[in-house]
């Protein structure tokens, strides 16, 4: 088939246009209702989860419309936010968390919320989490803490009706279980869930009176966590936990526990539904203290907070502040609580699951929890490096001292 030149050019132009049309369609439309203030909100909760709050807020504030967008946690959310910030498409309100807080604060993207009415009742631990140089940059209203789930029948078999309060007592329980032919304890090291060392380190730092917001100055998490690591490793060195845990995922470990193949498993409230469905007699206890001279801390963290874009002014800023005010309203806190969040706002108590009450009262509400990635620079580097190094430690390939050295060297190189 032969075409003359103009027909060929027309076909080429049409082909080029066909490729450009979909790109043009990517352009955003600005269809805000006239007369209303549009507040853009980037969340990492999906639309179904966020919808009730947005609807209620818009009902209470008919002059404000929320332009909702969503990116799933954590890496995808952080990258989406990063792209929007650098591309001058910053959302007015967005999520701030351990992985992005240092960069957001350092680059001046988040507003100082110190002393605002909607942050007054937040717990100290939640404030501390999003504070830098005495200034608060986010509103975090709930927290989580891990504990140890245990099979009550198995513990009864070795004469235990109460869960141990200290690590030595816990190891004694492990020995009794092992002697009785029961696998004592499991952790999902493949997923990097070594929860005990964080809880020990939290209590050690608390006893020393360390201001957690200054940990990033030295940025040596390895040296700071070494004592906790050494104490925790006894459970592997004495043979109470299987070193094959380095290849065990969270789902695998949970299945082992639910099927009665192991007596104890470190986890959190997120696994309770599975335990209930399995229909066996189980309990959930706070992580034991490192020794009788230290308080019992948990591995845990404040939940991600909401931040306001630092360049907001005028009506948009007022709308954003109303949105954060709404987050700590009775209606919102109750709704969050019903969704399973453990609220830590002063004057409000979540109606948590019966099994979780002990941890909620003793760790979550009191702020006695610690997470290694929350207070150092480059938490992403720390998180992934720690997972790999912990696996080598549990395998017995490196010593606790080497673990600490490797972690700190990696952190130094990432500075």
């Amino acid at each position: 088939m032969k075409f003359n030149k103009s027909v060929k050019v027309a076909i080429a132009a049409a082909a080029a246009a066909a490729m450009l049309v979909p790109l043009a369609a990517c352009g955003s439309s600005n269809g805000a209702d006239s007369g209303k203030i549009t507040l853009s909100y980037l969340s990492w909760s999906n639309e179904n989860d966020a919808k009730p709050y947005i609807e209620e807020f818009e009902k209470e504030n008919p002059d404000i419309k929320i332009d909702f967008s969503y990116a799933p946690p954590t890496a995808e959310y952080i990258q989406t936010l990063q792209t929007r910030l650098v591309g001058n498409q910053a959302p007015d309100v967005f999520v701030i968390t351990s992985e992005n807080k240092a960069d957001l604060i350092k680059n001046g993207y988040v507003m100082d919320l110190t002393g605002k009415s909607y942050t007054e009742k937040l717990s100290d631990a939640n404030k501390e989490f999003l504070t830098k140089d005495g200034k608060l940059y986010g509103q975090s209203i709930s927290s989580w803490a891990a504990g140890i789930a245990y099979n009550k029948d198995m513990l009864k078999q070795v004469g235990y009706t109460e869960f141990p309060k200290t690590w030595d007592e816990f190891l004694k329980l492990c020995k009794k279980l092992k002697d009785a032919g029961i696998s004592p304890y499991i952790e999902s090291i493949a997923d990097g869930n070594d929860r005990i060392p964080d809880s020990f380190t939290g209590s050690i730092l608390a006893k020393k009176g360390t201001d957690l917001t200054t940990l990033a100055d030295g940025n040596t998490p390895g040296a700071n966590e070494l004592e906790g690591i050494k104490a925790w490793m006894k459970v592997y060195d004495e043979g109470y936990a299987d070193r094959n845990a380095v290849g065990v995922s969270g789902d695998d470990a949970k299945t082992q526990f639910v099927n009665g193949q192991v007596a104890m498993y470190t986890t959190g409230a997120w696994d309770f539904d599975t335990f209930k469905q399995a229909g066996f007699d189980w309990g959930f206890a706070p992580i034991p203290a490192i020794d009788s001279e230290h308080e019992a801390y948990a591995q845990g963290s404040p939940s991600p907070g909401l931040a306001i874009y630092s360049k907001l002014t005028g009506d948009k800023l007022k709308a954003a502040e109303k949105f954060l005010e709404f987050q700590v309203s009775e209606w919102s806190l109750k709704k969050h609580s019903e969704s399973g969040d453990a609220i830590t706002v002063e004057g409000f108590s979540s109606d948590v699951d019966e099994h979780y009450k002990d941890v909620y009262e003793n760790n979550v509400k009191t702020g006695k929890y610690f997470l290694i990635t929350n207070f150092y620079n480059n938490p992403d580097v720390l998180g992934s490096t720690n997972t790999s190094e912990i696996q080598q430690l549990v395998q017995g390939a490196i010593t606790p001292e080497q673990w600490a050295k490797n972690i700190d060297e990696k952190m130094a190189s990432a500075q």
């Binding site: 080429a12 650098v86 960069d103 380095v246 065990v248 695998d252 190094e389 990432a414």
Partner: protein, 319 residues
């Protein structure tokens, strides 16, 4: 066209007409080139926008401390490259990536060719067997990784360990031992890709003229001799294509090791692509991620060109 033919064709034309003829032919060639350019323009634009520009940007970022949050970046020279070469995790990732790419390429090639030869014979249920082998390559390697993670669980309750227990054998620490974890990842990669590559070889096998085999049979060649002297040389173009795909795919592997082991235990199944994604995007160290990407781009180019060169040499040996 031979010189004689050209001479006779041109020689029949008067001198003036000959130069006119050449000018017209040149003009027509130019017009065709311009038209071809317009047809190529859309794909050229896509190539420049989606490949060339990001590549140049990546090379530029590799000399800066760009963190993704601020465009105020500083020139750091070769600092990112120095960090890449002194980071033990990256070097371990490079080691496993090369091991994976080579072993998978050799393993798949060695197993897929005999499989293709068998699937090319006539037997009852041949089409069904062909479909079964091809089916392994249909699900993505990421899904394969998730499924096989349970099968190779190092606990007593793992699928393989349960089977071993039925025979009175103890559990094997599949994914918790460095060497076994490497073996598991490579084993799945080979298993999952054999069917697809066997299908590729099957297409080449079916293009071999049957009379070559008939003549060889008449000459008294046995099956092995027919395979070595007819099948294998005729398959060389297929082997070049298959090994090229396996090598380039193997060097940029990410999904299978990540879903199975997340690069662990330790860094035993860590890959270069995981390192680029983790450091560049996950940890907002775009400078280091970019330096890794540039080095990997160069290394992959060298390895693939070497592999193509060797394949071509072997091809010529069989011609």
């Amino acid at each position: 066209m031979s010189a004689t033919m050209q001479g006779s064709a041109v020689g029949d034309l008067p001198p003036l007409d000959e130069s006119l003829y050449r000018r017209r032919r040149r003009a027509r060639g130019l017009r065709e080139d311009v038209t071809s350019f317009w047809f190529l323009l859309p794909i050229l634009a896509v190539f420049v926008v989606l490949f060339l520009v990001p590549l140049v940007q990546t090379a530029y970022f590799s000399f800066t401390d760009f963190n993704g949050y601020s465009m105020d970046m500083n020139w750091v020279g070769l600092d990112n490259y120095r960090k890449v070469f002194t980071d033990p995790s990256t070097l371990q990732g490079l080691g496993f990536t090369i091991l994976y790419a080579i072993v998978v390429m050799v393993g798949v090639t060695v197993l897929a060719i005999p499989l293709a030869v068998i699937l090319n014979r006539k037997f009852v249920g041949r089409d069904f067997v062909r479909s079964v082998f091809f089916f392994f390559s249909v699900p993505s390697l990421a899904i394969m990784g998730m499924v096989w993670k349970y099968i190779f669980s190092p606990m007593k309750t793992g699928v393989v360990n349960s089977v071993l227990a039925a025979f009175g054998l103890g559990p094997v620490p599949w994914l918790s031992n460095n060497s076994l974890a490497k073996f598991c990842v490579i084993f799945i990669a080979i298993w999952a890709q054999i069917g697809w590559h066997a299908t590729l070889y099957l297409a080449f096998l079916q293009a071999i003229p049957a009379d070559l085999y008939e003549q060889a049979t008449v000459d008294g060649a046995n099956r092995w001799q027919q395979f070595a002297h007819i099948t294998l040389p005729q398959l060389m173009p297929g082997i070049v294509t298959s090994t090229f795909l396996l090598m380039s795919g193997g060097l940029k592997v990410y999904d299978l090791p990540f879903t199975m082991t997340k690069g662990g235990p330790g860094y035993s199944t860590y890959t270069v692509t995981q390192s680029i994604i983790q450091q560049g995007i996950g940890q907002s160290q775009y400078g280091i991620g970019s330096a890794l990407a540039v080095l990997f781009f160069i290394a992959t180019g060298i390895v693939v060109f070497l592999q193509m060169g060797i394949s071509n040499l072997i091809s010529r040996r069989f011609e």
